[in-house]
């Protein structure tokens, strides 16, 4: 241990000496040693010379006022009903680690955000069970709880770009998702008491909001890892996430994770709810559409740089971290491959931090920037079920370009010679003709 410390110290002194030499030799280090003093250092800042806020201010804390541009955003093209049947997307270009702050978690509703009175909250579970029940919020929260970190992704994430890139923005191209630590109860724990009848194949989850959003869920998922959740990152769910209670189906379409949850009914047959027929179905070239398209497949993106946060300020020779997210609704990320030439050649990037099932996973690659280089940054994730992200041509050959949902082909950012970052796609123009 001591030896290691000594080695590190020696290493440090050696590097410092080397740096001093370089400095004297008059390379770029000298220019950063410029004579002009930085006023930010030379003057006492105003905040250091007067009282700060009393602890009595902001009983519920808010971000620094300087962070006011870190926001969920909308576009009218993804909205109907005066933003009541609409989506607000998360600023994932600003995301750190694998947790999305509750106030920035993407928000999608089909009839506006409902404000449910917790005193009047009831959850009814009935249908093909031995004993139907109704629970108050207090009774629900009395079940032994579990806490899990999972992303929720709208399956239309990237769905506007089947026929070509549309958004010069990672927030809009990939921000139909967020990741949080959820607290609730496994549905299978509640069903131990209720007793599921053997002919039960499906469960309807229904919300109490204006649109009474409902979806059919196979009991296989219910008995595996489906949760009824009331906690999000250590506090009550936000109204936008279904306060006080939503269902969470780890890894599956966000639309299936019904918010403002009011009723669960078990049945032998599925329901054909509006959001599992008219929408959330993926039309293939055969004319048939995939219905009950549950899991969000393995996916990844480069978050830094991004079209929003570019490399214009980088200097020649800067060592810069290229960072990204990888996620799979079908398992755990096992590897992320990274390409500087749009997917012609890949190297394996490094995973970092916690690698959890059906969760955002961080990956990293250190790059030495050469001023004037044009790069095509592409990432490709692999999960423990064996799935690997397809190329755009591979995916459109099977799925066509009309499916809207579940687009998980690799994504590319072009870094121009000046360090601008643009969203592009690597594909065969006109598409691969379908057999």
């Amino acid at each position: 241990m001591n030896n290691q410390k000594d080695l590190n110290r020696r290493d440090f002194f050696r590097k410092t000496a080397a740096m001093s030499v370089t400095a004297i030799a008059g390379t770029s280090l000298v220019s950063s040693n410029a004579k002009a003093d930085d006023p930010a250092i030379m003057h006492h800042p105003a905040w250091g010379q007067k009282w700060g806020d009393p602890v009595t201010k902001n009983r519920y804390g808010v971000p620094s006022k300087y962070e006011h541009n870190v926001l969920r955003r909308n576009t009218k093209l993804l909205a109907s009903g005066n933003f009541r049947a609409s989506i607000a997307v998360a600023p994932i270009q600003e995301s750190m680690g694998i947790i999305t702050p509750n106030g920035l978690f993407f928000s999608r509703s089909h009839g506006g955000v409902a404000h449910v009175d917790p005193k009047e909250y009831r959850l009814m579970i009935h249908g093909l069970v031995e004993k139907p029940i109704v629970l108050t919020l207090e009774q629900l929260k009395r079940y032994p709880s579990v806490t899990r970190t999972h992303f929720i992704e709208c399956p239309a994430n990237g769905g506007q770009e089947w026929r070509g890139p549309q958004f010069n923005s990672i927030q809009f191209a990939k921000g139909f998702m967020s990741c949080a630590e959820w607290t609730g109860v496994y549905l299978k724990t509640i069903l131990e008491d209720l007793g599921l009848k053997p002919e039960a194949q499906w469960m309807l989850a229904e919300g109490s909001d204006n649109s009474e959003m409902g979806r059919s869920i196979p009991v296989e998922k219910v008995l595996d890892d489906a949760m009824i959740v009331w906690g999000q990152n250590g506090e009550a769910l936000r109204p936008e996430q279904g306060y006080p209670v939503r269902i969470l189906l780890p890894g599956w379409e966000g639309n299936l994770c019904v918010k403002w949850l009011k009723r669960l009914e078990f049945s032998a047959e599925p329901w054909y709810a509006k959001e599992e027929t008219s929408k959330y179905t993926a039309l293939k070239p055969s004319g048939k559409a995939v219905q009950h398209f549950y899991a969000n497949e393995v996916n990844s993106t480069v978050t830094s740089p991004s079209p929003e946060i570019d490399w214009k300020d980088l200097k020649d020779g800067d060592i810069v971290e290229i960072e990204g997210l990888a996620w799979s609704g079908m398992g755990t990320i096992t590897a992320v491959d990274f390409s500087l030439d749009g997917g012609k050649n890949y190297v394996e990037a490094k995973l970092k931090g916690l690698v959890l099932p059906k969760s955002w996973t961080r990956w990293s690659y250190l790059h030495t920037y050469k001023k004037g280089d044009t790069l095509l940054l592409t990432s490709r994730a692999i999960d423990d079920a064996g799935y690997i992200q397809p190329t755009i041509d591979q995916e459109t050959t099977i799925m066509g370009v009309e499916s809207v949902y579940h687009r998980n082909a690799v994504e590319t950012w072009e870094v121009t010679a000046t360090g601008e970052v643009n969203h592009v796609q690597m594909r065969t123009p006109g598409g691969i003709k379908n057999a």
Binding site: K50, Y66, H68, N69, S80, M124, H126, P132, V134, Q139, R142, Y143, R163, Q166, Q171, T189, I190, E192, Q201, N210, P218, V219, K221, L223, D224, D225, E269, P270, Y272, A273, T277, S278, L283, P285, V290, E297, M330, G331, T332, G342, G343, K344, N345, V347, P357, A385, G386, Y387, D393, E395, I398, G400, E402, S403, H406, N422, H423, R427, T428, P429
Partner: protein, 382 residues
């Protein structure tokens, strides 16, 4: 190893199966597999993480929960009236579909009064709201193969209620529960029949060989006879007793849903991976109009002056010192006021060596704080 497990699981008990998974895979990811607790492959083609040695994947679980969950007895059994009040969903076989009737004519009246402002004339859509019809449903169903992957310049498929939806029960159910959008659950059963009849009419439907014309009167019996043109347009088949096994089989094959799986022959290519036909495609026009506009600038937000309650501000911040010295309107202010209000304001805003903190320690704007100073020096709120 996983394939072997699946074979073994077919005959093994659940307990033995879990033990096998634990022994078979071992290590850090010992609980990951593609086989569920019932011995079958996962329904979504993904990985499952059964509890082994009190852990599921990386998470510890309390084993007492599984052992005792059946004895937890929370909540109560709902009454028959409560069940009836909430169990209002409508299924394709007519479960939940109420008796009643309504005509196309009545439907058009309701539509023009409550629906047209969003869904447009004759359901043509607009303003971000979906179209309810684009013409004859039977003809438009044939457009579903117009996939622009084959011809980028072709007209794409038309997906509206008539051409795309597999079940008519969905329409009645959604109108009843979700419409009109700003006043949902306000329509009677008869009104919903009338609107459903109108939507069938503008999609040029036939029921049992009879055209749904302007005089048509729809009721429960007739609605259940509607055959949707695209009823067979979806996969996998989710109806009947073996539905889950069919879904399982569908997702076991990655090519069914556009995925690539290394265990099913996909390749993890690391070099020379691209066909020569692949080009860099830039955004052509694209979608803009982000609200609020995109920005990563860290500056102070534009502020709007908010009027404050001066006496309340005094009470919360100033009173503890100023009640006993230089109280509001006190004669002690005389020598200070003689220096002029500008000097008083300056001292108040920037603080004094005599102990007055800048703005009394508040973060009020200068102009707001001056109104507090005015109150303290005069005893009056202006």
């Amino acid at each position: 190893m996983l394939k072997l497990n699946r074979k073994l699981l077919a005959t093994a008990s659940v307990a033995a199966a879990i033990a096998l998974l634990a022994v078979g895979c071992g290590g850090e990811t010992g609980t990951a597999g593609s086989t569920q607790i019932n011995g079958k492959a996962t329904i979504d083609g993904g990985t499952t993480y059964p509890v082994v040695n009190d852990k599921t994947g990386p998470y510890y679980v309390n084993p007492q929960v599984a052992a005792d969950a059946s004895k937890i007895n929370n909540g109560r059994v709902p009454t028959a009236n409560e069940l009836a009040a909430w169990d209002k969903d409508i299924m394709p076989d007519g479960t939940g579909l109420p008796e009643g009737s309504g005509s196309v004519e009545e439907g058009e009246e309701i539509y023009d009064a409550k629906c047209v402002m969003c869904h447009g004339d004759f359901g043509s859509g607009g303003g971000g709201y979906p179209a309810l019809s684009k013409g004859n449903a039977y003809d438009l169903q044939k457009t579903l193969t117009n996939n622009r992957v084959n011809d980028p310049d072709a007209d794409g498929p038309t997906r509206v209620f008539g051409s795309y939806w597999p079940q008519v029960s969905t329409l009645y159910w959604y109108i009843k529960d979700g419409m009109p959008h700003p006043f949902s659950k306000s329509l009677s059963a008869d009104e919903v029949y009338a609107l459903t009849a109108y939507v069938l009419n503008i999609n040029e439907f036939e029921i049992d060989g009879v055209e749904v014309d302007d005089e048509y009167v729809l009721d429960r019996e007739k609605l259940l006879k509607v055959k949707m043109p695209n009823v067979d347009g979806f996969e996998p088949n989710i109806d009947g007793p073996n539905a889950l096994d069919r879904v399982r089989a569908y997702y076991a094959n990655a090519t069914n849903f556009g995925a690539q799986n290394l265990k099913q022959g996909a390749e993890r290519c690391m070099s020379n991976c691209q066909e020569a036909s692949v080009k860099v495609i830039h955004i052509n026009g694209g979608i803009r109009g982000f609200l609020p506009p995109m920005s990563d600038v860290r500056d102070l937000p534009a502020t709007q002056e908010v009027k404050i309650d001066v006496k309340e501000a005094y009470k919360n911040t100033c009173a503890m010192c100023h009640d006993s010295y230089l109280a509001p309107g006190s004669a002690e202010w005389k020598p200070f006021l003689a220096e002029g209000m500008d000097v008083v304001y300056k001292k108040a805003i920037h603080g004094t060596e005599g102990g007055m903190p800048a703005k009394g320690g508040t973060d009020l704007s200068d102009s707001n704080f001056k109104t507090v100073v005015d109150y303290i020096t005069s005893g009056k709120v202006k």
